[in-house]
Point group: D2
């Protein structure tokens, strides 16, 4: 085939683990306007995969991240390594003048996220986005359009859950040391959705779509199947409630033990209606009518559920860079999601309800009480 | 027709308002083993209804509750007046030696409920039950049987909501002065379900089906449509979380503004499975496929949704009395539901998380912290 | 209780088998305006049931149908015996001056049905109705209201099925000798629905709600599980198509082998929309989320699915008699349903497509061809 | 990017109308192992589209089909022109030594389809497949796997429908002159599914997965919205029944007037269970709870519903060629689908039921009757 006479985004993927390999495939085969030119991994097993699956397509493989950043013509990086190096790699890429799509979360630590933001602000011409995949799912996008258009009045209450199929390997127990805990690892998606839908309030006179301001957070949890999680201050089932100033509430549930598979669902409840995403989960359109009743399956993993959203994320990021327009998720919002997730996890651990003033500063309950006078 | 040669329970209904009239009909026409012999109401409009609809069937109408209690042969009373006199009438009936089925709640005040329990304990041969109708719904009953049989392992998390269709008349605003607030008026059903399902834990070594013990409660809420509710410390949307000792959590949502109608749903989440009641609400089995999409209706009112449960409640109460067996809902549990509802409402008003020790005594956060050491 | 001072319909039930006992209960306990005064059965087992369940309520038991008809004050009879004596008992009751609610079908033989109609016409003051229970189901009633109000334009195509859970006892094999075959026994309900919905055509200029006129019928079938059905010219799975004059088509499926239970569903397809009844069957509002997927049950029997419709049928029949108004289902329509069912069964047996002229007379294909010129 | 060092199938697309443009995109951007090297269209508007959307990617555009076949290195052709030239182009491509994926149907005329098969047989090393997209849909594939594995016993009855959203432009009226009629244009998909699922019979001793043999077909229809269809012997709503030898029946419905959108559904009914595909249609996982009830959308077009199936079809065809394995749909089956569709359309027009012997020859009813003796 002749070389396409098309302006395509030259992108690299960093990290070729489970999600990294998928991102590589999405940019290589499912994002027509992107060209996967390089990939980085230091892992031998991932390298072997890359040699078989990427190299033949002309993708250059690197075992040194800094070297990869110097790849000729490289314009953008998709950071999909382990969470602990997300921030460092993102900052390095920004400093090398690359656009960045980083897997969520930027970091499980708020101060580290702030460093990423600071780096991004120093290079305002670069597109830097944290990939909250759920925002690119067709059903969530439709719900956003309906919310923004006023179909449900003022979005007031949001309920959202992230429930994974139980993984008996114990992976998530060990991982909880680095994951930031269930609210930062799982419910961060739900928190992000709350920020997204609440800031779409069509009744607001504020046209800037400002983020809602957290007033209080509180969380509880249990270790129903994996008591060892307690070592890291974590649980396998968590319930959290976030109260925002100006009359909006989001409440969340996350679980590591949903038997049939992945069940993530969300309700956006407004003064005139409710939008319900995935109340009635299913893999597809098939039901079996057997002597034991009617049966259906649900997606087994997060990727099974959101594969098309990940592809759409890659496309929208690519378009934003090529067309020099705002990325669909701004970094402030992603930082706020981490801040809320970290606060929920702290509330879980301490048993305390945490309070914030309108500027986002922690206040004690009495300060809060005074503020209300 | 010859007089039936059947032992039937001679019952009276007190209060013939919206629910009272329905109870009267259930005992008169839909509970074969009961005989509605009397009814009481002081309200002129209700009296007119009774003269037309009850008297011709041989039901004696009273305008004085105490007189009604003296009705010859009367064995039981269904108390369905306004909440504020539930307790007083129940106690009087008990003292007059009558079995009592009382509409929920016994009272919105915990000390008053305790008086009812004390009265009932003094007459242990009488059946006294608070009517939590949802427990008699076929789907909830099936969920209970599956929970008790171990299908979902240990019931660990319960999510439950009571969402009413918005009533623009403002009735519930005025009513909030007496209702005890949204957690006592609406979520009391959900609280009762939590007590019911959690005490069915098949993995418990405790065979007494003890009630789970509350450790903490916390609640928040907003007045999205009816700011006047704030006068009574109430809201039109509330979210509450109840943490129990020994690793169980229930979380609740209630709303007065659900546009399509009544949507009460519950999830009982266990270590091996989840039972979902009414995730996918519908009035019946009809869907309309029109140019605007696919449409279905949901029940408009609580009674539309639970009519058959109310009838079943009447039948099971009648059977319990006639067969001298335990009523399906014990009073201790109903009292506990009020205690939790009142605590949630207090948490909503104060903004504070409330703590309890295993004996049910309020402790402060530090006491709690010490208790955890 | 004092004897009610209420005008109630004094009715008897003939036959106390499975459905007869249910009808007896419906009139005794669930139809306030009816008074079950008598019941007839010659069967010893049914008699024993009646002595235990009916006699104590003051119901007089007869073992002679003619004697029962003479019961003092008797006004109406519900005929629920085996199909083979439906017609004879109905005619006798009419001739004795009683109103009659007869279980479907009046007979499996068209000439016998005609005799019933002739008898009824001789006593035009009596209410005589064949009980097609599905017409009294809430979802079907809503669909009717929507059809008649024009929501779906002109009802044009109707798809309807009656699928029973497989009964390994072989009962229905033996019964096929008398049942008239699967189209007369099962699909007769679906045929009745076609007549009902098509005659509700809101676009018709004919205000008499005339029945649609059959143009052709054709049917095929298989014996998938019970080859012995072939002895009686019957099958365990049948598909039939009925073409009406003026552009309406109904097509049917019936089965004796639906593993999860009873699945009867119907689509009324109009020029502007479709009404779908029970496309998504379920027993209630409960779903189980287990490691094997999501599961729900469906009703096990026809009665499980249509219990409330049977009760409503009893009430509407009672009201029609007491208020002297037309019964909800006219006999002409019920006769037409038998005619179509019998024709489908004949088509199944002969393999031939059968043709009718607008007056309902059989014509051969060539006559049909000529008629179309 | 370096030229991939990967063996990819060099394919061309013929016809760039609605479906052709989609096929071009699928091979260009969504089938990694294929390389779209050429495209043909004589239409000015389609050429303009191709210059903008294909040429920049290195795809050579032809306005002469024969020239395109000579494109250097071309290995395969996807024929997606108007139905009337499907066969001719397919034959030409075969004769030029190209593998062919042809849009359904090969032709609306059986003798023409036979010519295609003859051409294909002369070049047995070439892969020639007619694209019945529905076979590549994930839900239909799961249903196939369950059928073949014995989950539902012997597949005995199949119900399937193809219902399009009403297109008020009248396009399909004009198109009916060439479409072969509703059974050949729409229900051909459903017929193909019947052949597929029935030949998967796991109880069959025949391991060759032979196609089921048609015994009789019969069809009726109406012109509810578009009377002009009658000019071409066509209808806008059709019902057809196909009886196979050895106890299998398929029945079909097709409509051009489904108001909410595209609703294609299928039930495969076996002796031990039923598989239901799309009984409960929906676009995604979103439902709106508004004051008018609960609402959801369904796909608007066939492509909206089956987009991913088309992509999967392109991938599987590509893999079959590259790996030199059998294509997933064999031509005999596709020819049989046309034969049945044409017979149904003839039955619709003549009003007659048509009979076939086991060899597929038409017999008259009496011949049939004799055959049964």
């Amino acid at each position: 085939m002749a070389q396409p006479n098309i302006r395509r985004l030259r992108i690299a993927v960093s990290g070729l683990g489970r999600m990294g390999a998928r991102h590589a495939n999405h940019f290589l085969h499912r994002t027509p306007k992107a060209e996967l030119v390089a990939a980085f991994t230091p892992e031998e097993r991932e390298l072997a995969w890359a040699r078989e699956n990427l190299e033949p397509w002309g993708v250059k493989i690197y075992t040194d991240y800094d070297e990869m950043l110097k790849h000729e013509g490289l314009e953008a990086v998709c950071v999909a390594t382990v969470t602990t190096v997300h921030a460092e790699q993102t900052i390095k890429a920004i400093e090398a003048g690359k656009h960045v799509l980083c897997e969520k979360p930027l970091s499980t630590k708020l101060d580290v996220v702030q460093q990423v933001l600071a780096a991004a602000k120093r290079q305002p011409h670069l597109k830097v986005m944290c990939g909250f995949s759920r925002r690119f799912d067709a059903s969530y996008l439709s719900a956003y359009a309906l919310t923004a258009s006023g179909s449900i009045g003022r979005p007031t209450i949001l309920r959202s859950q992230t429930c994974d199929k139980y993984d008996p390997s114990g992976f998530f127990v060990a991982y909880s040391e680095f994951s930031g805990g269930i609210f930062v690892d799982c419910n961060i998606h739900d928190i992000d959705l709350a920020l997204w839908y609440f800031s779409a309030d069509p009744t607001s006179t504020n046209k800037k779509k400002e983020l809602p301001k957290v007033k209080s957070v509180v969380a509880v949890g249990v270790t129903a199947l994996e008591p060892d999680l307690a070592k890291h201050g974590d649980v396998d089932n968590g319930v959290g409630v976030v109260e925002f100033y100006d009359g909006q509430i989001a409440y969340f549930y996350s679980s590591r033990m949903n038997p049939p598979g992945q069940h993530d669902s969300t309700e956006i409840i407004g003064t005139k209606g409710k939008l319900s995403v995935n109340a009635n989960p299913t893999t597809g359109l098939l039901e079996s009518h057997l002597s034991t009743g009617i049966h259906r399956d649900i997606p087994q993993t997060y990727y099974d559920r959101f594969e098309h959203a990940f592809v759409e994320e890659a496309r929208q990021f690519t378009d934003a860079v090529l067309d020099d327009k705002a990325v669909p998720i701004d970094l402030e919002s992603s930082m706020e999601a981490v801040r809320i997730g970290v606060a929920l996890q702290e509330s879980l651990r301490s048993g305390k309800k945490l309070w914030f003033d309108r500027e986002g500063k922690r206040v004690d309950e009495d300060g809060q009480a005074r503020a209300r006078l």
